[in-house]
């Protein structure tokens, strides 16, 4: 594991809210170009862990380390560069309600590429929407569209700057079949393009097909952490119990590999 490039690292990190530890002394490493899936029960702290890794929620103790540098001591320009290189898809979409969909997608581009022309911004937005099969009026506000479309726009916003690291929080919760399929396919393509992905999910297909590493969270702590193969082979009853909800029993590892190398992903 240590031969791989570490991109993110948590050292003994705790997050405390109202005297309760939501994240309790967690230490782990996220590797470059690998997909790490976070699984755990409801309220176990998965989303908080994801936001902590993304530097959205500040740590109360311990350190977030990004490519060897402490997040808290990063200069403004380094921090901006880190933000430019990552995208975050929120569980509840978190689109900016006072902006229309087009503005939701253009703002990250305007921020990170201030010299980019409006034509270029327009081209990128159209291309990203096409790749996600988004076919709605971008002048609408988030409240005017369906939750499925909001989720797609949220993913589009996360991918609009073509980031290196992508954080995805419960991408398929409460979605119709077609939107789920589009998001699953997009995540598979991102995996094929060797993006670093950290995903919180209950989806058996994403977990079994895409994860290189798995983090099992229980009671705000890391219960188990390792490669996908090591975790699924574990005989620990707690791990077996948590995995029984997310691992697709029907999935076949060899088939998954064939899927990933198929030309459809190009």
């Amino acid at each position: 594991m240590d031969e791989l490039d570490i991109i993110l690292e948590l050292n003994d990190v705790s997050i405390i809210r109202n005297s309760k530890r939501i994240i309790d002394q967690i230490s782990l490493k996220i590797f470059k170009k690998k997909t790490t899936v976070i699984v755990g029960g409801l309220g176990s702290g998965k989303s908080t862990l994801l936001k902590t890794l993304a530097g959205i929620i500040p740590t109360d103790s311990g350190k977030l380390i990004i490519e060897g540098k402490s997040f808290n001591s990063m200069s403004v320009s380094k921090l901006k560069d880190f933000r430019k290189r990552n995208g975050f898809m929120f569980q509840d979409s978190a689109l900016w309600s006072n902006k229309n969909l087009y503005q939701n997608l253009s703002l990250p581009l305007q921020l990170h590429f201030p010299d980019m022309s409006t034509d270029e911004i327009d081209r990128i937005i159209k291309k990203t929407c096409r790749s996600l099969s988004i076919d709605i009026n971008l002048n609408d506000r988030p409240a005017q569209i369906s939750s499925g479309n909001r989720k797609l726009i949220s993913l589009a916003r996360a991918l609009i700057t073509d980031p290196e690291i992508i954080f995805i929080d419960n991408p398929l919760s409460s979605l119709d079949f077609e939107t789920s399929r589009i998001i699953r396919e997009t995540i598979k393509k991102l995996k094929y393009r060797e993006k670093t992905m950290i995903i919180c999910t209950y989806d058996p297909e994403i977990t079994s097909m895409l994860s290189d590493f798995m983090i099992i969270i229980k009671d705000s702590r890391v219960y188990a952490y390792g490669t996908y193969n090591d975790i699924v082979k574990s005989n620990d009853t707690v791990i077996r119990n948590i995995l029984s909800h997310v691992i697709d029993k029907a999935s076949n590892f060899d088939d998954d590999i064939l899927d990933l190398i198929s030309p459809d992903f190009n």
Partner: protein
């Protein structure tokens, strides 16, 4: 007994923490305001919208209240003061009451009722729906993008609205004075300008500036204090109104006292 001491201790510690946090919030807003002015910032549109909402859309109510106040002062003054042989004092009273004291304070109260409540509600909703986290995730600092434009917008609007309130009050009082004790427009404004000392104008602008800063900081700070539930939003709105009124009145008393000491 030990329990009470514990509770008191915890309360003091939490108050000190809150004060330190609020001070840090205020100082960061001031620092980011300088960067905002110096740089070509994506928050300019937010600033323009804030001035439009806080300043432009409040013109009607400001002119109505300003004129009404002017009318009340002129009617009372022109009927009462001549009985004591002090009819000429009406101009000084108009200027002191409208320009120096009530103009900035009433304008601030209107802005607290209209804009501070709206700002706290909007930011509170943004916290609940994770929109603030979304801003952070793309690299936008919520203070520089959401707080600074509102801070500058409310402060600039309050100064301009105060001037507008003064104009409305003083012009309104002129028209009503024509029914009670007609004077020429020139004479009215000559007397008014004679009573309008530079330090009064300065004091009025300083008050608007300070009130604008207080209102916007309280409204944005309370908006961000929402933690995760929509039921907290009305609570922070009430806090913004209560604190806004209290701090503006305290600041008004301090500035007025300093004013009398210096001038």
């Amino acid at each position: 007994m030990i329990n009470s001491i514990n509770l008191l201790g915890n309360k003091i510690i939490s108050d000190i923490r809150e004060f330190a946090y609020a001070s840090g919030f205020f100082l960061k807003t001031i620092r980011e305001s300088f960067f905002f002015i110096k740089q070509k910032h994506i928050g300019y549109k937010v600033l323009v919208m804030q001035i439009l909402f806080t300043g432009f859309e409040a013109l009607n109510i400001i002119s109505l209240i300003g004129m009404s106040l002017g009318v009340v002062i002129i009617v009372q003054g022109l009927t009462l003061l001549p009985q004591f042989g002090q009819g000429d004092l009406i101009y000084s009273i108009l200027v002191v009451v409208i320009t120096k004291e009530l103009g900035p304070l009433l304008t601030a109260f209107i802005i607290i009722a209209r804009s501070a409540t709206a700002i706290s509600t909007e930011l509170g909703n943004m916290v609940v729906s994770h929109e603030i986290e979304a801003y952070v995730s793309v690299g936008i600092d919520p203070i520089s993008y959401l707080v600074v434009p509102r801070f500058l917008g409310v402060t600039i609007s309050l100064i301009l609205l105060n001037l507008y309130f003064n104009l409305s009050g003083l012009i309104g009082s002129y028209f009503v004075s024509q029914f009670i004790k007609p004077v020429t427009f020139l004479e009215y404004f000559r007397n008014l300008l004679f009573a309008l000392k530079p330090y009064i104008i300065f004091s009025s602008i300083v008050k608007s500036l300070v009130f604008g800063m207080i209102i916007s900081i309280i409204a944005t700070y309370n908006g961000f204090r929402v933690e995760g539930s929509t039921t907290e939003i009305p609570q922070v709105v009430i806090k913004s109104v209560g604190q806004g009124f209290s701090y503006c009145i305290i600041a008004d008393a301090i500035i007025t006292a300093l004013n009398y000491l210096w001038f």
